[in-house]
């Protein structure tokens, strides 16, 4: 009798402990995912070949957007997979307009996870996939705007049907991002560098940014009645082979984390 009472008490203690442990929640905060085309997109810029470019819309279709706590920190130059202790992901895909808002607009909020485990999210990955609906339907990236050079104005829509995946380390910039504290909000950023495609007249012409960029002249050469509306397949057919090769080698370098580089897969 005495023995069964003790056993019963032990079982009750075990159940109570498990219940208490289950009730104890981990510390969480909110992690926001943002997309940023930087000032080049919001304010326009002059390409390496002298075209003054302003953007009306830049639609990117994002999927599998995931942030990670990695230790040791993920290094994209290793070109490996991200191995994480903790990860949080946005469900679904999102078409965002990087040109949305005025010249001083904030980066675009893509989504957020309100129960992100606290800690430092020092790596992020995402994919640019073809949208199934919306303004970018059929494409992973749609660049719309106007380019002016001298007395020539070209309205353009450049459609990219290729898909890309980016694995990145920590954001590099003015502030440190991704540090989630209990009950607080932090953010991580997907940054897109469009000067890699068009070049930048303000950078030296022998700078890698201009050497590796296609500029706007090849796009302008495909214009009909002052308008360019073309996709990668069309570009492959219409522009010089070396220009097309430059473009396909440049597009994978669009994705960054601030000034930090990513591995494109």
């Amino acid at each position: 009798m005495k023995k069964s009472m003790v056993a019963l008490a032990l079982v009750a203690l075990m159940v109570l402990t498990i219940l208490l442990a289950g009730c104890g929640s981990e510390a969480v905060g909110t992690l926001q995912f943002k997309a940023n085309g930087e000032d080049f997109v919001r304010q326009g810029f002059v390409s390496k070949d002298g075209w003054s470019i302003n953007f009306d819309h830049i639609y990117v279709n994002l999927a599998d957007v995931t942030a990670y706590q990695t230790d040791p920190p993920y290094d994209p130059h290793d070109a490996g997979e991200i191995e994480a202790d903790v990860e949080v992901e946005l469900d679904g895909s999102y078409t965002v307009d990087l040109a949305e808002g005025g010249e001083d607009a904030e980066p675009i909020l893509v989504g957020q996870v309100v129960d992100a485990e606290v800690g430092h999210y020092n790596a992020i990955s995402w994919e640019m996939v073809r949208a199934t609906s919306g303004p970018a339907a059929g494409y992973s990236l749609v660049i719309m705007g106007a380019a002016v050079k001298g007395n020539q104005t070209i309205d353009f829509t450049i459609n990219i049907e290729e898909e890309y995946g980016y694995a990145c380390g920590e954001y590099v910039g003015d502030e440190r991002k991704g540090i989630v504290e209990e009950g607080e909000t932090a953010d991580v950023e997907m940054t897109f560098h469009f000067d890699h495609v068009f070049g930048d007249v303000e950078a030296p012409m022998d700078d890698h940014i201009n050497v590796g960029a296609i500029g706007f002249d090849p796009f302008a050469a495909t214009a009909e009645n002052g308008r360019v509306d073309i996709d990668l397949a069309g570009l492959q057919a219409e522009i010089a082979a070396n220009d097309y090769q430059t473009l396909v080698e440049t597009l994978p370098t669009l994705g960054h984390v601030g000034e930090g580089h990513c591995h494109c897969y």
């Binding site: 005495k2 023995k3 003790v6 056993a7 032990l10 203690l13 075990m14 402990t17 498990i18 442990a21 289950g22 104890g24 929640s25 981990e26 510390a27 930087e38 000032d39 080049f40 706590q69 990695t70 230790d71 040791p72 920190p73 290094d75 130059h77 202790d85 903790v86 485990e117 606290v118 800690g119 430092h120 020092n122 380390g169 920590e170 590099v172 910039g173 440190r176 540090i179 560098h193 000067d195 890699h196 950078a203 700078d207 890698h208 940014i209 590796g212 440049t250 370098t253 960054h256 601030g258 000034e259 930090g260 580089h261």
Partner: protein, 149 residues
């Protein structure tokens, strides 16, 4: 903003001595010294040119959100600092100049334990620990309650 430049960070750990302050007693005198590990970071563009004058921000592992030290690289792209040996873990060093930038992670101290932080034990770990403790208590109780032959 940034170019497609890959930054190369050369690292040299100039090891003066590893360890915490040591005291040697020798016939009526006490000689003390404090040891430190000096870290030298060299930042270059992938063209090989030094990132002269680049901004450097150092983050200690116990407070990743607050710069522990800021400074600039010298003409050779070199920056030297001495981490606080009482803060073992991964020290992060960010180097930026005119739109080009990168970050390097330096393990310092015993264990080389990073401090990205995952917020303590998970629920699963807590439950497992609780079960183990209870199992130990139950086993002990049953041992003393056993019928002696």
């Amino acid at each position: 903003m940034s170019g497609n430049w890959k930054l190369l960070f050369g690292l040299a750990f100039v090891l003066v001595m590893i360890g915490w302050p040591l005291v040697v007693h020798a016939h009526g005198v006490s000689i003390e010294y404090t040891s430190n590990v000096e870290v030298e970071v060299v930042a270059r563009y992938d063209t090989g040119g030094p990132m002269a004058g680049a901004q450097v921000v150092v983050y200690a592992p116990d407070d990743p959100g607050t710069p522990w030290l800021t400074g600039t690289c010298d003409d050779d792209g070199r920056f030297i600092f001495t981490p606080d040996s009482s803060k073992p873990g991964t020290w992060d060093v960010q180097v930026r100049l005119a739109g080009h930038g990168g970050m390097i992670h330096i393990p310092v101290g015993e264990g080389m334990v990073g401090t990205g932080g995952t917020g303590g034990y998970s629920v699963t770990q807590i439950v497992l620990m609780a079960v183990c403790v209870i199992w130990g208590i139950a086993g002990t109780a049953l041992y003393f309650m056993r019928k002696r032959a």
